[in-house]
């Protein structure tokens, strides 16, 4: 599913744009993932912002407030929800319904649909993340990201790692139902280790150690460090890159178009 397929000379370039547009329309017309991902994260952000105790800085959180700590967690949540619902869901049902099969009889390789999906989802993720940051800074007095470039890198790697995992789900699942089951099974543990339910800083050491090596745990760590502390942590970024590489390879190796 490398993007080099886009370089194939025989298909009009406009075709990719048309596919992206149709995928965007489909996302817009089936907005459940958007509502869950963006809606819930924004709602949580606003609720947390309104709770006075969340704004108090706490020594156990390294001098940060609970609100500060939750912004990166909500960013990871948005990316996790969208990568695990929007990416595998449509791909598996496209495969199930013969849509990819039909496409593979045209000059356009079916991988373009996958690439188009990623373009659409990554754009939506970027918009959602920007929205979360802007709302937290403008309305709830959070400080602006200390290391924006590092934060963008951390978020980009998070998206890459979660895409790779989402695509592996799509590769492993034969039916849309199976994909949903796998996604749910992956989603809750991943969110737990991101600290959504209980900040990782407060977890027992054993769990904390595991969290470092989970994709969303590493993502939250990397985003927190770049955003709140202003330095670029190497270990969590490497963890994210490793997930992107390993699951990306698995997805490429085992993805079936039929």
């Amino acid at each position: 599913m490398s993007l080099s397929v886009l370089a194939q000379p025989r298909v009009p370039r406009a075709a990719f744009g048309k596919i992206v547009r149709n995928e965007a329309r489909l996302t817009w017309r089936q907005p459940s993932g958007l509502i869950v991902g963006v809606g819930i994260s924004l709602a949580l952000l606003i609720i947390f912002g309104e709770i006075p105790v969340f704004q108090k800085s706490s020594a156990s959180l390294g001098g940060l407030s609970a609100f500060d700590v939750y912004i990166p967690i909500l960013i990871a949540f948005v990316i996790g929800v969208m990568a695990l619902t929007y990416l595998p869901g449509p791909l598996v049902s496209y495969r199930e319904q013969g849509i990819l099969r039909r496409l593979s009889t045209t000059p356009v390789p079916p991988s373009w649909v996958l690439a188009a999906q990623m373009v659409v989802q990554a754009s939506l993720m970027a918009i959602s993340v920007a929205l979360l940051i802007v709302v937290s800074v403008v309305f709830f007095g959070a400080s602006a990201p200390k290391n924006p470039a590092g934060m963008v890198l951390a978020i980009a790697l998070t998206i890459a790692a979660m895409f790779a995992i989402g695509l592996s789900v799509a590769a492993a699942a034969r039916t849309a139902g199976a994909a949903r089951g796998l996604m749910a099974a992956a989603f809750y543990p991943l969110m737990f280790f991101s600290g959504l339910y209980y900040p990782t800083q407060l977890m027992p050491t054993a769990l904390k150690d595991i969290a470092h090596f989970t994709p969303l745990g590493a993502a939250v760590e990397a985003i927190q460090d770049t955003m709140l502390q202003g330095f670029v942590p190497v270990a969590p970024l490497l963890v994210l890159a490793a997930y992107a590489a390993v699951f990306g390879y698995l997805a490429m190796r085992f993805f079936r178009w039929e």
Binding site: P12, L26, R102, S104, T106, P107, V108
Partner: protein
């Protein structure tokens, strides 16, 4: 695989029509195609070729291997052995080029439920460098008023017609249509036939898989009957029908007596016998014409002429021992 050696057609397969044909460029050439799924032999040994501009039918009972043959031909599946050439191109090795010149309508293909017909058309049109005039296509197939409708709101027949439009949208040189009129009402079926004939008149080669005898007889220049992974007969619909029934029969009452030798000397006639005052002549080809013209040379008029010609359906039953099923089944 890919043995380029040309050998005679496999057992059971004969190609009388091809022998008489002036050699023209072959749009589709399939030789000794074989495809198995595990222990199941879907296609055992299938060979046929389709001339440019021809409408070629693939007929056979369910599970005969028609769809697998077509799927191999368009490059969706790799054959176990045998060669396939579409306009000289190998659908596996020259995938990209093949996909540009071949338009496909698959039996089980679908489109995203929440895309509008116009959006699907627009997208598929953009896949080809020289797309067809979509307005004309959807007009002929009665989809003009559906442009704004979601795919999921289309009826089965409308989906089928959309799928035919999409097969033709790239102005293909070869159109492969698998059960294109299944699920259509009789009027829509006839409209689709008209469209296919018009498309062929522009020089497009058409390969269609069909269950409908009427469709094959009306549209196809030649048909291949496939059974159990083999081509059991190949020829024009009329030729196959005649061959399978042992020929045509003309029964008539001569106005005057005549010598039987006059008719048995005709190449079309294979037998003659008398049934009371009536004469029954068995033969092939333009039998009735030949008989009437020959009689006319000796001043005899054939009265009360009855023609008995069998249909492709008869041929089919005779050759395979099976009936073709009308619709609603998967091969």
């Amino acid at each position: 695989m890919n043995t380029p050696i040309r050998t005679k057609a496999p057992h059971g397969a004969t190609a009388p029509a091809q022998l008489n044909e002036t050699p023209s460029k072959q749009a589709v050439e399939i030789e000794h195609l074989r495809k198995t799924y595990g222990t199941l032999v879907a296609v055992d040994d299938v060979s046929f070729s389709v001339a440019e501009g021809e409408i070629f039918g693939i007929l056979g009972p369910n599970g005969a291997g028609k769809t697998t043959t077509v799927e191999c031909a368009i490059g969706l599946r790799a054959p176990d052995s045998g060669t396939i050439r579409l306009m000289g191109l190998d659908p596996q090795a020259d995938r990209d080029k093949v996909h540009e010149i071949v338009g496909v309508q698959l039996q089980e293909s679908s489109f995203p439920a929440k895309l509008r017909v116009g959006e699907i058309l627009d997208m598929y049109q953009s896949f080809y460098r020289e797309p067809a005039d979509v307005t004309e296509l959807i007009d002929v197939l009665g989809l003009e008023s559906k442009r704004k409708d979601y795919y999921r709101s289309l009826s089965g027949g409308q989906r089928q017609r959309l799928s035919v439009v999409l097969a033709l949208i790239g102005q293909p040189k070869i159109a492969v249509l698998d059960e294109m009129t299944t699920g259509l009402d009789p009027q829509a079926r006839r409209d689709t036939w008209d469209l296919i004939e018009r498309v062929r008149d522009r020089g497009v080669t058409i390969v269609l898989v069909t269950h409908f005898m009427e469709e094959a007889e009306r549209l196809c220049d030649r048909v291949a009957l496939i059974d159990s992974g083999h081509v059991v007969a190949l020829g024009t619909p009329a030729g196959l029908a005649a061959r399978a029934s042992g020929g045509k029969q003309v029964r008539f009452l001569p106005s005057d007596p005549f010598d039987d030798g006059l008719l048995t000397a005709l190449p079309e006639v294979t037998a003659i016998h008398h049934d009371g005052h009536h004469v029954v002549v068995t033969g092939t080809g333009e039998l009735a014409n030949a008989v009437i013209i020959a009689l006319d040379t000796v001043g005899v008029t054939a009265l009360d002429v009855q023609l008995d010609s069998s249909t492709l359906e008869d041929a089919f039953v005779r050759l395979t021992g099976k009936h073709l099923h009308e619709e609603g089944e998967q091969p």
